[in-house]
Amino acid sequence: MSAHLQPTGSAYFIAKETELAETHTLSVLVDNEPGVLARVIGLFSGRGYNIESLTVSETEHEAHLSRITIVTRGTPHVLEQIKHQLERLVPVHRVVDLTVRAADLGHDRPIERELALVKVHGSGEHRVEALRLADAFRASVIDANIEHFVFEITGKPSKIEQFIAIMKPLGLIEVCRTGIAAMNRGPQGM
């Protein structure tokens, strides 16, 4: 058996994946009915796909439609499978790979935004420093007493990562992130 073959845990040998894994953002339009999120998540866990971020909320109340935004990682072949498998679910209306669509539209990537609440110890000189940095990141203070701040920050995931990293030495207490909301630039819908 040649060296580039690997056991798959299934029935046979599968040639080692030569394609590189990519991170893509998918938008999934679904009927807002009980269990729909479980179907989507179950599909990912059952078939061994990755979820890096997941956001879900009703977007069209009258039509009972929810929009799920999933950031996933896989080779182009696996990403295509994920799309087809999602489309097979009965309550799924549409699946759009926003990353692919962005490339088609000539953009680097889709608009991706996240909101985070960041609770930080704030006393002494750290207090001033935390406030100054929050200002630079356009984070707003939504709760505070003489010992702490809660900041609200919105932006690209990388900006939020950076803000959290900076807050760590200043006395980071806890973080809550919403996961990514995404859509493409330009006048067209998904």
């Binding site: 056991p7 029935a11 040998f13 040639a15 009927d31 269990g35 179950g42 059952g46 498998q85």
Partner: protein, 592 residues
């Protein structure tokens, strides 16, 4: 929708909806949470209920019923253990694309989530093993959901669905909506429009092919009799050789001159070699399953591949194809036949002569050969005799899972679609007998035989009681070698011949067992007595268990050992003990 005339209880709605969807038979088992529905069943005569002995049996019966008729199979189970027992047939139907509607009872809505008696999260448990499932919380949604369940089960790639109905919803009164008045769920609209350009592209490839092969599968059967009709026409027109998966047997007749036999792990030498060496492969309603492809990176390395499938997720899943054609097999083949006819004037028929000459050489290897024996019945011989003696009869065959299943696929020739019911994807031991019962319900006058192994048959043997109750003269033909033969074969191949728990030391007396259930038992131990015994079985108008004692240590060949390619088959005349022991190397041993 007006007035009180359409006001019914949930249980009445269930029965009315089943009738309006053309249901004649349901397979089920009563229990607390479905009693209102059973009360309605009692008070009507249009739908016949078949009382099973285990919910798994109900599911496989519904599968056999569906597979042999092309209709939707229906099962009815209670909450909790009733629903969990249905999981195996649901997954079986999912993997083999069988349209199945399972109606389950649930504890009353206010008790859901309270760990009530016989409660389980049925929709949660069955979510990954169904195409879709519903928990009905409002009686006014019930009719719509049942109609939708039937639509989802049989449209696109068929599959199983579950409708879970709490007991209070069955008692509640609501409005019945007939199927015609129900709007379909907008999100689920399987694509039916076929891209003609792709078919043209395929025909162009096929025209210039010098070493073509058609590889057909269960999708041809699912698509209906028209699909088999056009498949036969396409083979006739093109002169291409054709092989089929386990699930596709019968779509093209085994007596047809272009037939290569089944392909895959236990397929014929000529079928697998043709797949390996071809330059154009036409895959029709099959899904490049691992039992078909062998080692993927050595799978048909030099061919252009055309793939016809109704399910977009099947395309490029395991094997990357060159021309994907999305659509129903019958529709696509109809167009393909039409385009081929138009193009056929420019096709050089002689170009295939070398290819057929090569195939003739592979055929001459006679890969299904076995050593006949005058003293003990060889299992292959038993299937051959069963086939010969049932020829010309209106016969349906089901199987369990194991060696006997492969021998049946290799040695029983199928001439028509829907005559062969087997658990291909899931490989469910215990499938064959209840499936046969379901087939017999649908075809009461036909000869229905479950070709079984001595181990498999014991997994759903309780349905003998059901067969006897309804006077269903199903025949169980057991190839009894006292081993789990396929398990033993793999232990010989992979595990140094250490036969861990694959021998059944205490075997029931199958003749007495048949009699205990009220059926007929027949035992045969000598090849010379086999024909007479088989005739007796066929002529018995009652359920029969036929205990056919076969050579204990016979193995199933040819075989592609795991981790090997199509052209590295193990042929019967080469399969000495030593070769068998060393056929699979250390890496292959990690696989199944």
């Amino acid at each position: 929708m007006s007035g009180t005339e359409n006001q019914m209880t949930g249980a009445e709605i269930v029965l009315q909806a089943l009738k309006d969807n053309g249901v004649k038979h349901i397979f089920g088992y009563p229990g607390g949470a479905v009693l209102p529905i059973y009360d309605e069943i009692f008070q009507q005569e249009e739908i016949e209920h078949i009382l099973v002995r285990h919910e798994q049996g109900a599911g496989h019966m519904a599968e056999g019923y569906a597979r042999s008729t092309g209709k939707v199979g229906v099962m009815l189970v209670t909450s909790g253990p009733g629903a969990t027992n249905a999981v195996t047939p649901l997954q079986d139907a999912l993997m083999d694309s069988i349209p199945l509607v399972c109606i389950s009872g649930q504890v009353p809505t206010p008790l859901i989530g309270s760990d009530a008696f016989q409660e389980c999260d049925t929709v949660g448990i069955t979510r990954p093993c169904t195409k879709h499932n519903w928990l009905v919380k409002d009686v006014n949604d019930l009719a719509r959901i049942i109609h939708e369940a039937f639509r989802v089960a049989q449209s696109g790639r068929p599959g199983p669905v579950v409708v879970d109905i709490p007991k209070d919803v069955q008692f509640a009164t609501g409005t019945y909506t007939p199927p015609s008045a129900v709007p379909t769920q907008k999100s689920y609209q399987p694509k039916t429009q076929v891209d003609l350009k792709k078919i043209e592209e395929a025909v162009e490839l096929m025209k210039n092919a010098r070493r073509p092969v058609i590889y057909s599968g269960g999708g041809v059967i699912n698509s209906g009799p028209q699909a088999s009709h056009f498949l036969r026409e396409l083979v006739e027109l093109t002169g291409f050789p054709i092989t089929s998966t386990l699930m596709g047997l019968g779509a093209y007749p085994a007596s047809g001159k272009n037939w290569l036999g089944m392909l895959g792990m236990h397929g014929t030498y000529e079928a697998n070699m043709a797949m390996h060496d071809c330059d154009v492969m036409v895959c029709i309603g099959a899904r490049f399953d691992d039992r078909i492809t062998g080692r993927l990176n050595a799978f048909s390395p030099n061919s252009k591949k055309i793939h016809i499938d109704i399910d977009p997720s099947s395309i490029n899943k395991n094997v990357r194809v060159d021309v994907p054609i999305l659509g129903d097999v019958a529709t696509v083949l109809e167009d393909m036949v039409r385009l081929w006819r138009a193009a056929s004037k420019t096709v050089d028929k002689a170009r295939l002569e070398d290819w057929w000459a090569g195939i003739a050489k592979w055929r001459a290897r006679n890969s299904l050969a076995y050593t006949p024996n005058d003293d003990v019945i060889m299992p292959q011989y038993a299937i051959q005799r069963l086939y010969e003696l049932t020829k010309g009869r209106d016969t349906y065959i089901t199987t369990e899972v194991g060696q006997h299943q492969m021998w049946a696929a290799q040695f029983f020739g199928f001439e028509q679609p829907n005559r062969w019911m087997t658990s291909g994807g899931l490989g469910t031991m215990g499938y064959g007998f209840p499936a046969a019962v379901g087939v017999q319900v649908a075809h009461p006058e036909s000869l229905v035989i479950d070709i079984a192994g001595d181990a498999s048959i014991q997994m759903c043997i309780q349905e003998m009681s059901c067969a006897v109750q309804y006077g269903l003269p199903v025949k169980i033909f057991i190839l009894n070698n006292q081993y789990m033969g396929m398990v033993r074969q793999w232990q010989q191949l992979l595990h140094g011949n250490r036969l861990s728990h694959s021998y059944t030391e205490a075997m029931p007396d199958f003749v007495k067992l048949a009699e205990a259930y009220g059926g007929v038992g027949i035992r045969c131990e000598k090849p010379g007595e086999l024909d007479e015994a088989i005739r007796r079985m066929i002529d018995t108008p009652a359920p029969v268990i036929f205990d056919c004692r076969v050579a204990n240590l016979a193995n199933c060949f040819p075989m592609i050992p795991s981790g090997k390619a199509h052209n590295e088959m193990l042929l019967p005349d080469e399969a000495t003990d030593e070769v068998v022991a060393n056929a699979i190397d250390a890496k292959g041993r990690q696989l199944v």
